[in-house]
């Protein structure tokens, strides 16, 4: 049997899983809870600060990584779940799942690069 090339898809999925499990909850906590509840500085998410974060090349890279890997993770998980549910029309499910993740990632890249 030939060795599989699935590691490409799966390593992005696994990386996205780590991000979705560890980074996203922290981001939700900061943006959705900590700042509104006054646990952090009031101006922690102020416009000029955020602009500086997104304007920095490393900031862009990190944000793109978080968005792309999380989307890829969700797309792959959804496709596998569809497979488990017996929806096996491979190409349609593949295009729908990875397509949405791909388009959203491209949109994120365009927005990040335009800042």
């Amino acid at each position: 049997m030939a060795k599989s090339n699935k590691p490409i898809v799966w390593s992005l999925f696994a990386g996205g899983g780590m991000i979705a499990a560890f980074v996203l909850p922290a981001m939700i906590f900061i943006t959705g809870l900590a700042v509104p509840m006054g646990l952090l500085l009031e101006n922690a998410l102020a416009y000029d600060r955020m602009l500086a974060l997104v304007g920095n090349p490393i900031g862009k890279l990190v944000l793109f990584g978080v968005i792309f890997l999380s989307l890829w993770h969700a797309a792959h998980r959804l496709r596998m779940t569809l497979h488990d549910l017996g929806i096996r029309s491979g190409r349609v499910a593949m295009l729908a799942c990875y397509g949405v993740a791909g388009l959203a990632s491209i949109a994120a890249a365009v927005v990040l690069l335009s800042i």
Partner: protein, 246 residues
């Protein structure tokens, strides 16, 4: 007062007379110390000698008596009637396997898959007995010990939704055993096993549902073994891209 009884619905398939499998209901005495296998043995001894089922040790060691009990894969020697009484107990052959007769399934495909991953220690050179013991530390043993508990009962194959969807999938027990020998410090056979384990039909058909680990009567965690093999195979794949990778 009449003696308590329990109804057992057993899937029958006698290839010489039955077109399709049919359920047959048996009424057996209820005994809180009985397991499902005791009830099946009672039927065979006292009610219907034509009922076929596999069993051997009656103590969850041999792995012969796996059946579906009320839809869940279980060892019939390890499943007490008292957990179902006064409800009915429905006994069927293991899902995802062809039925040979009544509760007896055809295990040939599983046996081939098991053999394909070479589940034995492969050494680089033949080691004469005169070389003495091959020493291993308790930590070395601990790294793979849980996987040695597998009794090849095939409950994980009946539980795995991928086995039903993708019959070529090598499956949980075989992949867990491949991992067990890969982790063994005496072993040098990982590359040979990766031929099967790292193929599409190997670990990559697994979608990590985790049902295999839930139904294992010996507390083996095949799902973890498969995920660890995925990580190791992914590292191999990227390493092979490097100029100094093989």
């Amino acid at each position: 007062m009449s003696e308590p009884v329990l109804e057992l619905e057993v899937l029958r398939y006698r290839p010489e007379t039955d077109q399709d499998p049919v359920f047959q209901t048996y009424t057996v005495p209820y005994n809180s110390d009985w397991v499902v296998l005791d009830a099946l043995t009672h039927i065979k001894d006292n009610i219907d000698r034509t009922l076929s089922f596999r069993w051997s040790c009656h103590m969850a060691v041999c792995g012969s008596c796996g059946v579906m009990i009320n839809g869940e894969p279980k060892l019939s020697c390890h499943t007490f009637l008292r957990d179902y009484y006064p409800g009915k107990v429905r006994v069927e052959p293991l899902t995802n396997f062809p039925i040979e007769r009544d509760l007896v399934t055809v295990a040939d495909d599983f046996m081939e898959k098991l053999a394909s991953v070479k589940p034995y220690v492969i050494t680089e050179e033949d080691r004469p007995v005169s070389a003495g013991e091959h020493l291993q530390s308790p930590a070395d043993l601990n790294s793979f010990k849980q996987y040695t508990m597998c009794i090849n009962c095939m409950l994980c194959y009946a539980a795995c939704p991928q086995m039903g969807l993708t019959p070529d999938f090598v499956g949980p027990a075989a992949l867990a055993l491949a991992h067990r020998y890969n982790l063994d410090t005496r072993d040098a056979g990982r590359e040979e096993r990766q031929e099967i384990a790292a193929s599409n039909e190997g670990v990559w058909d697994c979608t990590f549902v985790g049902a295999c680990s839930q139904v294992c009567p010996k507390a083996v965690d095949p799902a973890a073994a498969i995920q660890q093999t995925k990580i190791a195979s992914t590292v191999d794949w990227y390493k092979a891209l490097l100029p100094w990778g093989k």
